[in-house]
């Protein structure tokens, strides 16, 4: 279901845009997970599922948003996760990495310094 109503004029479009923007907190952390074909093939659905479970468990569902987005192009390195607003990129993410990502980065805004080859 759409949260916005029918847009009937150009002024209406601008109003709707403002309404959407006002309703969103720009500082709210967003976990953007690529759901392009490449990342899905490499297990992105499981990663999203793990993020949801973890946020639920930590009681952070309202504070952190998970966004399933399109492809950024580096399909070989999927599943790709970007944490906004800091724009920290993670590649080749596995479901077992999620608790660490949530507890360290998103809550404490630190970076998980691990490299997967």
């Amino acid at each position: 279901m759409l949260s916005i109503k029918r847009i009937i004029s150009i002024e209406d479009l601008e109003e709707t845009r403002q309404e959407i923007r006002v309703g969103r907190n720009p500082n709210k952390p967003i976990i953007s997970v690529c759901m392009g074909t490449g990342c899905i093939a490499l297990g992105a659905r499981k990663v999203v599922g793990a993020f949801k479970v973890e946020l639920e468990k930590e009681g952070l569902k309202e504070d952190i948003e998970i966004k399933e987005t399109g492809c950024l192009g580096s399909c070989e390195l999927g599943p790709r996760v970007i944490i906004y607003p800091d724009e920290i990129c993670y590649f080749k993410v596995k479901p077992e990495d999620i608790p660490e990502i949530i507890s360290k980065i998103v809550i404490k805004r630190r970076v998980v310094e691990r490299v997967r080859t």
Binding site: L13, K67, T69, Y90
Partner: protein, 527 residues
């Protein structure tokens, strides 16, 4: 987890600092990581549909076309035809009802730009399409997506439904009096259906075969209506041109080709993936800066641009500025933007054979030059790659190629010869070695090579002996190993797993004698 740069080993956490992204100019792709493609709210909050609002409130259809012409936007599907001129042709064509169509029948091997764009940001494509329809005066739109792209079909269908519910599609859009509807057509996956007239036949529910184009589809297309067909990426460029202006768009890229182009950079390079760069970037920057260079310290040999219609570009043109006209000059073409990098291990004859065989499968068979030409070319190329090449083969190939290039019905046949001709032009000595010496300098053609175990390096570890799927390797624990060429199927497994680098491919060199014969078992050959 975090990104580690393959060349330097440095860890880079931030998106903007990753070399693969740093040197790109991502005008079309940048929003992909921030927008949920299934949410029109996301698109609107990122400024979506404001170009449509601008067009409907302050621009006449003629003015929109003028602006697109001024921006010098050229068709991103490969041909590079000026988009504004195409729009104008359809606008001026006679017909009560007109069509605009999105071509997402992307089928080049190794190319996935349109797919990512329509999957990741379907509303952008849709907004461009609505603007185009307004400028042309079309009331009907189609998105032709291949069935093999299920997520693209899903996301664009959702986008259309959402736009309808919001009143951005349908009757009296934004109270402007402009009516426009869009439908999704799922293509059955024929490569030739990407050609304009074949695509329109397929849209009508007929077999996707091209027709002679004395009258262009822009004038008489689907159901004989004037129909304007543009590639996904072309449509996606429209909103930003409207918002930022033709002058801004022209400031990016080269004189003849404005804006950016998305390439799918694949093959033997370190960083593969989609790259969006300004037109006019050099191949060297694309391959070495963004692509991170050739994998495994190998040497660059060629880059194949434009898929089966494009050509191979050799090392001497690495500083070529990539745009529509420069690629044409060296015998290749932009195509939809597939870019396959090849290293010293790739055989140019074999690569040409791959594309010919691909097109042979995909040729619709309606016109003789393409249908028969490709069949004969495939036969000759197989002969050459399998050691049956004869003198005169090259001449015959060139004759067929010339005929096909001139008289084939559609671009599939006309451009099918580009891979062969560029391979012949830049790598002729390789062809001659295949034909005269029956040898493959890159050691890629299976029938022209043998695997050989260097007895001086072999440690008699029995690894290859155990792994050989056909039991072609002889020897024992204290005995250097030897490959029985009669049994060997040249799968290359032994070479991959050997820990001592003792196994190599040889082509045309005399095959060393079996060291086992007449020799007593030894621990290992002394140096």
């Amino acid at each position: 987890m975090l990104y580690k740069e393959p060349s330097s080993g440095k860890i880079i956490p931030k998106l903007e600092n990753i070399t693969f992204y740093k040197y790109q100019l991502r005008l079309l792709l940048k929003e992909n990581a921030r927008i949920d493609p299934k949410s029109i709210e996301d698109y609107i909050s990122h400024g979506g549909y404001s170009a449509l609002a601008k067009v409907l409130s302050e621009m006449s259809p003629e003015f929109v076309i003028k602006e697109i012409k001024k921006a010098n936007l050229r068709g991103r599907g490969g041909g590079g035809f000026p988009t504004g001129v195409k729009w104008e042709t359809t606008k001026n064509a006679i017909g009560d009802s007109k069509c605009v169509i999105v071509n997402c029948d992307e089928g080049d091997p190794g190319a996935f730009m349109d797919r990512s764009l329509i999957e990741g940001n379907p509303h952008k494509v849709l907004e461009g399409l609505i603007i185009g329809a307004y400028a042309i005066g079309a009331d009907e739109g189609y998105v032709y997506v291949r069935e093999e792209y299920p997520l693209a079909v899903e996301n664009i269908s959702i986008a259309i439904t959402q736009a309808e519910e919001c009143g951005l599609l349908g009757e009296n859009i934004l109270s402007s009096g402009f009516n426009f509807r869009v439908r999704v057509h799922r293509g059955a996956g024929a490569f030739v259906s990407g050609e304009s007239s074949a695509l329109m036949m397929a849209l009508e529910g007929k077999v996707g075969e091209p027709r002679p184009k004395y009258v262009h589809t822009a004038v008489k297309g689907v159901w004989n209506k004037p129909s304007c067909l543009n590639n996904v990426e072309t449509w996606a460029n429209i909103p930003q041109i409207i918002l930022k202006g033709a002058k801004w768009f022209r400031s990016i890229g080269t004189k003849g080709s404005s804006g950016t182009k998305i390439f799918s950079l694949v093959g033997k390079i370190n960083n593969t993936g989609l790259v969006e760069v300004p037109m006019g970037i050099t191949l060297r920057d694309l391959i070495y800066k963004i692509g991170g260079g050739i994998r495994g310290e190998k040497h660059f040999k060629a880059v194949q641009i434009g898929g089966p219609s494009g050509g191979f570009i050799p090392e001497k043109y690495l500083d070529l500025q990539v745009d529509f006209d420069e690629l044409d000059k060296v015998g290749s073409m932009m195509g939809s933007g597939g870019m396959v990098v090849m290293d010293e291990d790739s055989c140019m004859v074999d690569a040409a054979r791959y594309f010919v065989d691909f097109l042979l499968e995909e040729s619709c068979g309606k016109c003789i030059p393409c249908r028969e030409g490709l069949r004969v070319l495939s036969k000759i190329l197989s002969d050459i790659c399998e050691g049956r090449g004869k003198d005169g083969d090259i001449k015959l190939i060139e004759d067929i190629a010339e005929t096909m290039g001139e008289v084939s019905l559609c671009a599939l046949g006309k451009t099918a010869v580009n891979p062969i001709l560029t391979s012949l032009r830049y790598f002729r000595s390789e062809w001659e070695k295949h034909i005269r010496d029956k040898s493959c300098p890159s050691k890629a053609c299976k029938d022209l090579i043998n695997y050989y175990i260097d007895p001086k390096k072999c440690q008699a570890c029995q690894l290859c002996l155990r792994e050989c799927p056909v039991g072609a390797i002889q020897g024992s624990k204290d005995q250097v190993h030897w490959i029985d060429l009669e049994k060997c199927i040249k799968c290359g497994i032994c070479q991959e797993i050997c820990n001592f680098g003792a196994i190599r491919k040889i082509s045309k060199e005399p095959i060393p004698k079996n060291p086992l014969k007449g020799m007593k078992p030894i621990w290992r050959m002394e140096n």
